[in-house]
């Protein structure tokens, strides 16, 4: 009974909402270098969609759809990507922003000087947006894995 999840109202609303939550999370990640938010916040939002699914449908509803090993591997990939971006600039210094102002390549759009530091150009920012993506990947998979592991752990305990 417990693994069946919550009532039909919750489940129906979850079906509507979880996609929106994920899209919003990705929006926050993407615009991390322009607006409040960034990798961690967006990743946490996306992970909260996982948590909502888990609460609404129960762990049985998710069985087979999410592979914990894949989640954990993706988490490591995100962390490694972040570090690799840091290492890219090691010619000057660690975390040196190699792509900034490189002329269009990978968020490297040059920024006209409007008199204040951030004119809101999405394609500018160099490695910063890429780092946001890396952190976002790590956080969304990491928190989702933590939530799933804790749920599975507590379920095991009830069974004992």
């Amino acid at each position: 009974m417990k693994d069946q999840g919550m009532s039909v109202i919750v489940r129906t609303i979850t079906r509507f909402v979880y996609g929106l939550i994920i899209v919003f999370g990705f929006y926050v990640i993407m615009h991390g270098h322009l607006t409040p938010g960034g990798g961690f916040q967006g990743g946490a939002v996306v992970a909260s969609a996982f948590a909502l699914l888990l609460v609404a449908f129960g762990s049985a509803g998710l069985k087979g759809r999410i592979n914990l090993h894949w989640l954990q591997s993706l988490e490591e990939v995100g962390a490694l990507a972040f570090l690799a971006l840091g290492f890219l600039g090691i010619g000057t210094a660690f975390f040196y922003n190699l792509f900034a102002g490189s002329g269009g390549f990978l968020f490297g759009a040059s920024v006209p000087n409007p008199g204040h530091p951030n004119p809101g150009i999405f394609t500018a920012g160099g490695t910063v947006p890429l780092m946001n993506w890396a952190v976002g990947l790590k956080v969304m998979t990491g928190i989702a894995a933590v939530v799933i592991i804790m749920l599975v752990g507590s379920r095991k305990e009830e069974a004992e």
């Binding site: 954990q72 591997s73 490591e76 990939v77 962390a79 490694l80 570090l83 840091g86 290492f87 600039g89 090691i90 000057t92 210094a93 660690f94 975390f95 040196y96 922003n97």
Partner: protein, 520 residues
């Protein structure tokens, strides 16, 4: 090579982090591949720490600054500039601590390869191990109070994860909870202090903060929070109760790294007392606070060790008491740093040299007790006996580590304790009496452990035990070598690495600030 040396401060943190995140992925390819990667990373880290030390001590321990993200920065800041740049600042003391950490991490990782051979979960274990390494290096090399807090928390999480790693052991879970909660508490008080300092002075950089701290009420509250929080994380009595739990319940190779972690907190404490508040607070008052904590730590640690019957917990209390010697040496140096008499520097040398000696001896003792526990299948000294017949090398290593830690000449523990005894006697004979008495008691503690575990007749229970595999013997032998070399030639090391480190703390405050702010 020069590029490596230039980037060594950040590589010392980034490379272990890289290994920490790569270990679970590479582990899917097989244990051999993973161990090769970890071994290479740990070797590289040790090499980097050595290069950094050669560079820094070659320059007489003068501080160097590394700036994350590059670019140019100029101080004092011209109007409107916000100093958010993240700096690493390495002086003699940081480089010295880096050497200690490199030694323990290198031997601990090699020991772990054999220790985790038959167990699953090695990937995550090495991930946490390298995360802890990165955090410890970060605490020692950073030049920024907030980053210090971040690295402190990284070590807290990784250390607690390692303490409670063996989830099938009942008591390790209790220890894990207590350690994590205490570490978090200490971290939060450090963060509160950092916030107070930021609110008061508008800086987070240690050097800029140090130049603007005046010793008002808010500064004093921040100092109290920092002092207590870091002393707790170092394991000072009466806030030491988590330490034997943690050292005792962690897997044997990580107990040694946890001691290095405590020493990193101690480094943070010294950095704050000498560099941050060196000119604004009466050093004798601070020094006597540290000395009182140190005496309590030495005495309570060693007397509690005497009545333990769990081998690892016994060694753990011994390790707690040794933290007190470092605090005693540096505390004496701090107490007299206003007038700077000659014995103050001797006390600093003793306290700082003892960090290195303690890391080697305690590491060796934890490794040896891990090998004993593995072989005999019990941790209870009341049920051991006669292991020396079949574990000759382990018993010899344990004996060397024990007498060296207890300060028996001619081993390295005596060399550093000698400096501490002489200098603390100059300040007050009472300090030296407690220090010598506790050393004798510590020898008694290890005589008890050695007698109970290794001596005694051959019995059926000891028929099947044997010395551990080569993978565990080599790190122990390496630490024995370190103990012997440091014991027989202490003068060379004191002159070349300990004195620059001690002077960097004791006299180098202006140089530390000047390296960031430009000539003062």
């Amino acid at each position: 090579m020069t590029a490596l040396t230039t980037h060594a401060p950040v590589l010392l943190i980034a490379v272990p982090l890289l290994g920490a995140f790569a270990a679970p992925l590479v582990g899917k390819l097989g244990r051999g591949v993973r161990n090769t990667l970890i071994g290479l990373i740990v070797l590289f880290v040790a090499l980097l720490a050595a290069l950094l030390a050669v560079d820094v001590f070659g320059a007489g321990g003068a501080p160097t600054v590394y700036e994350l993200g590059g670019g140019t920065f100029t101080f004092p800041l011209s109007g409107g500039q916000i100093p958010v740049r993240i700096l690493f600042e390495v002086d003699g003391m940081s480089a010295f601590m880096g050497l200690i950490t490199a030694l323990i991490v290198l031997t601990g990782a090699v020991f772990s390869f054999s220790y985790w051979k038959e167990r699953s979960g090695g990937n995550l274990y090495f991930s946490l191990f390298l995360l802890l390494t990165a955090g410890i290096f970060g605490m020692q090399l950073t030049g920024d109070m907030f980053n210090f807090f971040v690295f402190l928390e990284i070590t807290s999480i990784a250390a607690a994860g390692l303490v409670g790693f063996r989830v099938w052991l009942k008591q390790s879970q209790e220890a894990g909870f207590k350690v994590m909660a205490m570490y978090t508490l200490s971290g939060l008080f450090v963060l509160l202090a950092v916030g107070l300092l930021y609110g008061q002075h508008g800086h987070l950089n240690i050097a800029t903060l140090a130049s603007s701290i005046t010793g008002g009420l808010v500064d004093m509250i921040a100092l109290g929070l920092l002092l207590t929080g870091l002393a707790m994380k170092a394991g000072a009595v009466p806030m030491h109760m988590w330490a034997p739990d943690a050292y005792g319940e962690a897997p044997a190779p990580t107990s040694a790294v946890l001691v290095a972690n405590s020493q990193a907190s101690l480094y943070g404490l010294f950095r704050i007392l000498f560099t941050l508040f060196g000119a604004s607070v009466s050093p004798s008052a601070l020094g006597w606070i540290v000395i009182v904590l140190a005496l309590l730590t030495i005495f309570v640690g060693v007397t509690m060790a005497l009545i333990q019957h769990d081998l690892k917990r016994l060694v753990a209390y011994g390790a707690v008491s040794q933290i007190g010697y470092m605090m005693l040496g540096v505390g004496v140096g701090l107490a007299v740093s206003a007038t700077k008499p000659g014995y103050g520097l001797v006390a600093m040398q003793g306290g700082i040299f003892h960090m290195l000696n303690d890391a080697a001896c305690v590491g060796l003792l934890f490794f040896a007790s891990g090998a004993v526990i593995r072989a005999s299948g019990t941790r209870d000294l009341n049920r051991m006996g006669g292991l020396g017949h079949r574990m000759m090398w382990t018993s010899i290593f344990f004996a060397i580590g024990a007498v060296a830690l207890a300060g028996v000449p001619p081993f390295n523990g005596f060399a550093s304790k000698y400096l501490i005894y002489e200098a603390s006697f100059k300040l007050s004979p009472f300090l030296a009496v407690i220090a010598v008495l506790s050393s004798i008691l510590l020898l008694a503690v290890f005589v008890k452990a050695f007698q109970a575990a290794f001596l005694g007749p051959k019995t059926d229970a000891t028929a099947h035990v044997s010395d551990p595999s080569v993978g565990m013997m080599v790190p122990m032998a390496a630490l024995v070598l370190v103990i012997l070399v440091f014991g027989l030639f202490p003068g060379f090391f004191v002159d070349h690495i300990v004195t620059p480190a001690a002077k960097a703390l004791w006299l180098g405050r202006d140089a530390y600030i000047g390296a960031v702010l430009g000539g003062i």
